[in-house]
């Protein structure tokens, strides 16, 4: 990559002077990934974000653009995560009738289940001798990405490691909910959906919408409430330790 001709190098420096090259690459990868995902019949283990990231990582590495320069340009997109997090409040409000109807079971299960979703993984990682940075990155593993990224930044973890953990968690949660509901003989779509959203954030919610609309609505609810609960309590809990 060092023996590029002069003209290519000057073109690269012109292109990377503005963030638009990163924006174009990200948009392109996003669109190609959506298309590939549908072509491969929506595989549970390979969500579109994984396909897009693989494509981008290949391009960024092979062209010699480098991750740092790419990421700097892509900030023009990632800055929108702030308002996008606020936007999650709208569907949460629209689910409010479910919360009102079922506030008692939600109040009993959510705080405990959302705490355990973080605590099990943190406990195991801590026992295996993980560094504080790794622990901080894994803590929001069941929280939807925009909220999780905020939590990780507050705790001083690595956002990229968090996002990797989120992907793995989302895919695993979809598979495990499938096994466990069969084993525990649970047929209530509201419970299945809530568990998918609570443990598997957006990836679990997407899976729940494939089961039924009720499961999907409860998954959105579980995802939203887990996100808010974890974002409010996890940083405070971390301060105590």
């Amino acid at each position: 990559m060092t023996d590029q001709p002069e003209i290519v190098r000057s073109l690269m420096s012109v292109w990377t002077a503005s963030p638009l090259l990163s924006v174009a690459l990200t948009l392109g990868a996003f669109i190609v990934a959506q298309w590939l995902f549908v072509r491969f019949r929506r595989p549970l283990w390979m969500p579109p974000v994984m396909i897009a990231a693989l494509l981008l990582a290949t391009v960024v590495a092979l062209t010699g653009l480098g991750f740092e320069r790419y990421e700097q340009g892509a900030r023009w997109l990632t800055v929108l995560l702030g308002p996008a997090t606020v936007a999650l409040g709208v569907p949460l409000y629209q689910q409010m009738h479910h919360i009102r109807a079922l506030w008692r079971p939600i109040l009993v299960t959510l705080p405990l289940a959302a705490t355990l979703a973080a605590a099990y993984a943190l406990g195991i990682a801590w026992l295996m001798g993980a560094t504080p940075e790794v622990l901080a990155s894994l803590a929001p593993k069941s929280v939807t990405a925009p909220i999780a990224m905020g939590i990780t930044e507050e705790l001083g973890g690595s956002v990229s490691l968090t996002l990797g953990g989120l992907l793995i968690t989302g895919v695993l949660a979809s598979l495990f909910v499938d096994w466990c509901t069969r084993w525990l003989k649970i047929t209530d779509d509201r419970i299945v959906g809530f568990a998918l959203g609570l443990n598997g954030h957006a990836i679990g919610t997407a899976r729940a919408f494939e089961i039924s609309h009720t499961a999907g609505a409860f998954a959105s609810l579980g995802m939203g409430l887990t996100g808010v609960f974890t974002a409010l309590f996890l940083p405070l809990a971390f301060l105590l330790f």
Binding site: T26, F30, V49, M50, A52, A53, L56, F67, E71, A74, T78, L81, G82, P83, A84, T85, V86, A87, L88, G89, V90, P91, Y93, M96, A113, L116, A117, Y120, A121, A125, T131, V134, L138, K141, A145, P146, I147, M149, G150, E153, E154, S158, L161, L163, G164, L167, I168, L172, F176, C180, L184, D188, I191, F194, A195, N199, V228, A231, L232, L236
Partner: protein, 124 residues
Amino acid sequence: MVMLRGFLVLVVFFLLGEAVRVFAGLPVSGGVLGMVMATVTLMVRGRVSTELATASQGLISILVLLITPGVVGVFFIADQFYGHWATVLVALVIGTLLSVFTTLLLMKKVAALGKEGGSHDRSA
């Protein structure tokens, strides 16, 4: 225009969230605080405007696009976390299995309790 008005509302709530974070010294991200304030505002008002609904739907539909640059980073931090990958994977696999199982068991028990509690008005 409709989309832009809704977008402005979202950005203003985000900025308000950041303001609360700084003034109250909370270790919670401005986006989450903005989301909580937006939800509470909607509950008080009792309805969502078309502008806000359109703008939030638009942003939520491109969430995957917005997190992709961060996910790309996963492939470039392999060296930084060399020696931690086994820990990360074991923690995620076992942790997620345990938490999925506990959630389902807990909800099954609570749902059963709810029925014994005598709510005859709800059949499902």
